[in-house]
Symmetry: D3
Subunit: 253 residues, 6 copies
């Protein structure tokens, strides 16, 4: 059940069954020579949509632009300053809590979001903690690649060249979701370097084509399908546990 | 050409042809008994995607949550506070300008965004104006229903009950784009009341089911198709003029 | 009754009669070769002061600096960044609401304020809407030139060269209010050009002497007097309706 | 020469003679049983206007709402939160500096503004200091009652009951400027108490009619005239010294 | 009793005896050729620690970085922008008030903090005043050198060259507290110049070695000991009066 | 070499040798029945001070209040809202960079700081990345307990009851540094529970005495000495590598 495709009476009815919602959160940033700029938003959205269809939980529209300052050296990248991201998340959370949502599960597609999203959670809780009122809301951040079993599968499929950015796995997931956007590009070097980075200029100097440690030319829709299937199952299990025993999710048709 | 489905080298190549980009901007808010919560984001996205495919301009991912405070009385609505919206738009604009984009065309789906988006433009220009440096960027906001010829067509299709919120037209556009989400609901009263409003409580008191002046039970995918076709043509014409003579857009295959 | 010239016990007594207040809002910005920098603040203040004297409503001091970033290319212009304007308006509104004012009518003198002031209203309402408490306050923005009958009169007086900025009408209103500041300047060209604009540099390039589409050399105090008289009558009528039937305004002496 | 009543070419001509400007800064707040809510804005404006007329310096419109949180217990008071005041002052200063003004002299009418205005100056300088660029601007805050000779005169005129808030002097200055607004009110007690205060509730509890230590029933327009005359002379002298030897001010007519 | 060295049950027990706390507030900024960068934080901390040990009040950790923009021309200086200082103080105050503290006494070591700290107090009170709820908290700022008797003693010890920044007294206090950090430096000129300043560049131009009007080569630990002893006694007296008759402070050991 | 105890000429001389600085960053928050509220600030400060003395690098004063919203249920805790922490860190970093520091190593004592400090780094880099200028600064966050070899030693010393908050190790480190503050308290239960948490109320409900998974009654100064010795050695090694080969640190006599 997708929020964007639901009417408000349908959401009202859902809230009588469950106070939980899943929110994909990602980024618009370069993903190397053959990866899609939307990769980090598309991956959690693809996985969560299939899971929502199967398990019946409510799926919010993606928080589609995240913290990607270090990728700004590559055209197409869009970032929120972290302070803006924190402000925007306060508004998303407050809006949902206003309606009665209490269990907000953010499925994340971007490592660079982990710190600012965690910080945004603290900012939300801090308002309650400083007032001294108990906060009735639980906020959870989960990276899709850390869903139980997923990373092991990715390493099994890509024993070499999975990498850390523009990974073979994430590119595969987007190729599965958007097979019309598969791009065939030779990688030079075959496997990208690994290093640290600070700002966008430093990142581009260290990683000339944008990849970190990966060979995403191995990506295919079929491999993506296997990863999505595993992630979907794990997500349904995690979300069911997080939402709690009182929730009565209903699968769509 | 969709930014989210492009690689950075593809965006780099695009920038050699054009410094223009189209950004759908909408809202997540109730749209009456049978309208989708994502209506205002979906409509400009549907129209702009078809236009981008035909004309070859670059389409950004949608700015999908806008200023919808007055709809918070209905579950599912998500708003940004206007001040957050302004901050987020500074970041989107600054990111795109950083890469060389100069002509940013925002196709809007929500009346409640007009004031804050216009204000966000002023905030962006003000930074240049206060520094005393000429700003090389042009920002344009266009409501899809005000594209030349569109409103006349909507009134022709819906001579009665087009309305101001949860309009028959916008619901039709989303039904065309998402035929699996068509909802059949009886409207009571047939045509919703018309009035002013302030905050969410006042809005809900004035408009018990969320509609303003409309009868969206008339909406069908076919009617939406006609509206999208007209809007697409008008958008291509407007964007071509806005981007300027030097741009060389290339339609996708 | 002017707030700035009243004592607090007088305001307390007023609040027992009415919870309404009128707030002129304008700008400090260039108004062409013969227009006053304060034009946009002076106009609503002149009109509202006469109306307040006649009808007995309370008149706040003017919010005298607004959103004028695009005029910063001309010396003397002062702007608030839109985000500052929004913050300041929250404070003005909150202060007045704290005392029991509920009906706040902003009489505006500057087109560039419409978007940010409307946005500031949304920001105010959003705080209530997000908390889920009904907001007891009504905020209204009215441009003085859009008061019923005023624009028709302006066009009658100035059939040619009324224009869009540094208009013959607004300059006349200030000449009526400040006859000692009448300035005689030849206009070249007679009627200024019409175009769009972005930041201050773009504005100055498009409009070398600051005017848009106008010939304000036609302005005289007498013409201003006619406009003020019409605007005053319309304002009294509008304010009376806005404040509501329970208010008992008392004209001064 | 008043900025609000000047045209931009007049300001441009002024800037060729002087880079200095005087900005009255005040407050909208209760001033006891017979004092005007606008007292703190009106006083510096009255004094500075006479001085500007005589000495020919440029006078900005008043920054008319200041930091008055402690007076909010009395109807009619309007405050900016200090953080808003600081933001607004950055914009005023930046606008003026953009045009070439370098010597900004703020004539203050309100004790509660001293800390936040001084802080706003630090905020402005800090931007330069952190960038490591020399700031070409000088900002000065002067309380009108601390102009050389003024306080001695006030004490001479009001040996008893001058007080600290709603002083006999400041009320006299406004009565001189606005003789139509003279209010005759018996004071009980004759001289108001003296104490400290924190927020608005504490203030009102300590000072039931708003005065601190004063008996403003002694105020008359004539006494105000004497104070204004002394303050005007002192202000002209101070401003001339502050603007510097290169400035060539020209008195009006 | 130092907060940083206490356990929470000890603080809980303290709150049953007293709702008062002392918070040293200072700066990290250059203090001339032989003064310590931490001088303004160290001085109130040294004095307050001795007083807390003797009188048993609770001592918070120092707010150790303040408003020092004008000293940024000298390496080692760290500043908060005033707006950041105000935000940080809201959080410190809100945290302490959350636990039941009601009487917050800030012992200040830096003149440049007076305006922003006073402003931060207004910001805190303003939230209550705008809501219209009585604020139960009292905030007090005291400069250690203005504790009764202290300035007279400093002038007695240093009849010449006490100065305004990098004073002989404050350097002595830190030498008393940190005798291992005594630095012997010849001063040229013997007594530093006196002038005004704006930003960091202006400050450094006016005061080449950082001092204002002082000869801190006179500083010794012994002189510092005398000053600390006097300040300690005065502080205990002031704090006892400020905290009120109901508090039962207990000296350590 | 401690910044707070240095003069500016000493810092200037240091900058000729090295552009690196170490900044302890911690928190003021409850640490269970026998732990000090300052634990998280004291630990990195104790370790870094010994290392600075031995290796000669410059040590900043501690950033002594961090993100501790979840501990506000226990008296004595002070928190910054994360957004304030981010703002304050921009100022600290900008101040140090202004002087020529380029390698900023933050030694952290609090798990709850990791996300907001990492986010603050992104905020700093983002300003450069959005401007498109290469950032010359490297920012590093290291938790003291993750210095090479330290965690292994802690587990060796405390095979049972080391825990996650109010750990036996961190309490030992503070007891070593402040032996006068050793507190003997029986723990009930012997080992505290382990769970997740959200806001302050939830935290206190889950962890009634503040500890998570630990038995800090095992803490002694001697054990702390061993940990500090190991951490000091590891820190010197890490800092030397981070500062780079060109730096010439000089140990203090």
């Amino acid at each position: 059940m997708q929020l964007a495709l639901s009417s408000w009476p349908e959401v009202e009815a859902y809230l009588a069954r469950s106070t939980g919602i899943v929110i994909p959160i990602g980024s618009m940033e370069q993903h190397g020579p053959n990866g899609l700029i939307g990769t980090d938003t598309l991956c959690p959205n693809i996985i969560a949509r299939e899971a929502a269809d199967e398990a019946g939980f409510l799926l919010a529209p993606p928080f589609n632009v995240g913290n990607a300052q270090h990728h700004l050296g590559f055209p197409g990248t869009i970032t929120l300053r972290p302070s803006t991201l924190i402000a925007a998340m306060q508004d998303w959370i407050s809006s949902l809590v206003r309606h009665g949502f209490r269990d907000l599960y953010f499925l994340n597609g971007h490592g660079g979001n982990i710190a600012p999203v965690t910080t945004a959670f603290s900012e939300y809780y801090a308002a309650w903690s400083l007032r001294g009122e108990p906060c009735p809301v639980r906020l959870k951040l989960q990276n899709w690649w850390e869903l139980p079993g997923v990373m092991a599968l990715c390493r099994e499929i890509f024993p070499v060249g999975e990498g850390m950015h523009a990974t073979a796995s994430e590119v595969s997931v987007t190729y599965y979701g958007y097979p019309g956007s598969v791009k065939r590009v030779e990688m030079t070097p075959k496997i990208a370097p690994i290093a640290g980075f600070t700002d966008a200029a430093d990142y581009r100097a260290n990683f000339p084509d944008g990849r970190i440690g990966s060979d995403p030319s191995q990506a295919t829709p079929d491999k993506g399908a296997r990863i999505v299937a595993a992630a979907k199952t794990a997500l349904i299990s995690e979300v069911s546990a997080f939402f709690g025993a009182n929730d009565r999710l209903e699968a769509h048709g």
